[in-house]
Amino acid sequence: MLSVQLEKGYPQFAIRADFDADAGSISALFGRSGAGKTSIVDMIAGLTRPDAGKIEIDGEVLFDAAAGIDLPPEKRRVGYVFQNARLFPHMNVRRNLLYGASAAAGADFRQIAHLLDLQPLMNRSPVKLSGGEQQRVAIGRALLSRPRLLLMDEPLAGIDVQRRNEILPFLDRLRDEVDLTILYVSHEIEEVIRLADNMILVSDGTVAASGAVEDIMSRLDLKPLTGRYESGAVLATTYEAYDTEFGLGHLAFDGGTLRVAGLEMDHGAPVRAHIRARDVSLALTRPADSSILNVFNGRIVEVTDEPGPQVDVLVDIGAPIIARVTRKSAHDLALKPDQPVFTLIKAVAIDKRSLGGQGRTGR
């Protein structure tokens, strides 16, 4: 387990972070650019010295201001995948990979090279690799130094959207096949939903909230931090069946079955579905003759009180879900807590890219 409490003052900015991450989990450090995420991981890696606090991994103290302990980065066994890969330009890919590896890393080397598909790149110069290839090498290099904790600072940020889809499957495999605590920095909510178990919401240098991704995403009060446009609840589901006649994937969760267009996966695979609030509608009576496939009975938990033209409604349909409706509709339907409603989700509105396998927990 990783336990972090740290404080650091900058001329215009202060960092005050306090969070834990379970061993073997992926925790996302999520927040806007400039929220202080990179400063926090730099302090965990030992590249920046905090003013106060304590950092511990599995009971071993890496930093303790009060006790005067401050291990240098090379003694921390914390791997770091930087935003811009930082491969050594004067070494080929193989020598980059082996830079932090011990002499006895042979089996690891083959396994990791296979996992990240690095074999074809071995003798090439890192300068001539694409951004995605560079990041794969950087991940392999960090893994081969046998870290107890892997820090990943927006590893996809410098890579264009098409190339991202080439590297995301490798990150999925990493999560599923390597037993490692990972702290993943990102400002892209879809990445977090796809990859992470837990999220730590960072805002203005402080931790605004932390917990399971589903729990954080269903909190209306955190919406300004999780992103207004993309905001919406995350449902933890299990892949149940594929309707071959109409091409629909069936995802089971506590409130029923969610049908998603065109999703085909292994039976029983855990799937995390991000349902954007703007794709969810509410009705007081069950709509007849409607094109909307997903209709769930629910009960309103909370209605936000906002001056703008729209309000968000948190509904319990067996799992929390958020609907964004106009204030006029909320007024006309007299939406209020405890009221039973029908929740409508268009099957085609669910973005397949936002569906994250949940890895380890299910397989």
Partner: protein, 230 residues
């Protein structure tokens, strides 16, 4: 025409020896100074920077005079060297090497520092997170990245050492076979009647040596850049 006399050959070999030792001895200090100036901030940094660059702006004769005072057998450094190690620097080829090293030092430091400035410190930080301590990081990452500047610095310093005149003649005089390097030999040959032929021959040798050094550095840097990795 191109028969070199013993005296001329002696001056050339002496110059090469002086320049070689000047570079060899000052290189570690040059790298250390360049690294401090490029990577660290500390009180007195601008003072160090000024001292390093002083030989570039002072008249060489003044540098020679300062060396005379410091390295004379009763001077603070010269006395120490004589009493502790039994080394006399003044009026010997070793003194000529000291003068050449001091005069060439700013050029060496500048070249290496420029190269260090362009080497990304982020790569050093990456090496640290991969388990490399500061020493391993310096020798496996920092120095190889600064190699082009290192080679340039060495060649510039070597060439400057070959050509050193003012500080040398002031500090260690012009003793044939001991401190009469190429430039001093050219100067001396111009003092005697009919010495122009000797002066021109030595000047041609100087040009050849300078060119050879430049070409060698170019080849070294290029080989490093295109080395097939295995």
């Amino acid at each position: 025409m191109f028969e070199l006399s013993d005296m001329e050959r002696e001056a050339i070999l002496l110059s090469l020896k002086v320049a070689f030792w000047a570079v060899a001895v000052s290189l570690p200090f040059g790298v250390a100074c360049a690294w401090l100036l490029s990577r660290k901030s500390f009180p007195g940094k601008s003072v160090l920077n000024g001292i390093v660059h002083l030989p570039l702006v002072l008249p060489p004769v003044v540098v020679g005079l300062i060396l005379l005072f410091l390295f004379g057998t009763t001077g603070p450094i010269g006395g120490f060297l004589k009493n502790v190690f039994g080394i006399t620097v003044i009026f010997t080829w070793k003194g000529a090497a000291v003068a050449a090293a001091i005069m060439a030092f700013p050029l060496m430091v500048r070249a290496i520092r420029l190269s260090l400035d362009t080497a990304d410190p982020g790569l050093e930080r990456a090496a640290r997170t991969l388990g490399a301590g500061p020493v391993k990081t310096f020798f496996t990452i920092t120095l190889p990245l600064a190699l082009p500047g290192l080679v340039t610095g060495i060649v510039l310093a070597f060439a400057r050492g070959l050509g050193e005149f003012g500080a040398t003649i002031t500090f260690v005089s012009n003793i044939p076979g001991e401190t009469r390097t190429l430039p001093l030999a050219i100067f001396s040959s111009l003092q005697v009647p009919e010495g122009e032929a000797v002066a021109i021959r030595l000047a041609v040798v100087s040009v050849i040596l300078a060119f050879a050094a430049l070409i060698a550095s170019e080849l070294l840097v290029r080989r490093h850049e295109h080395r097939p990795e295995t």
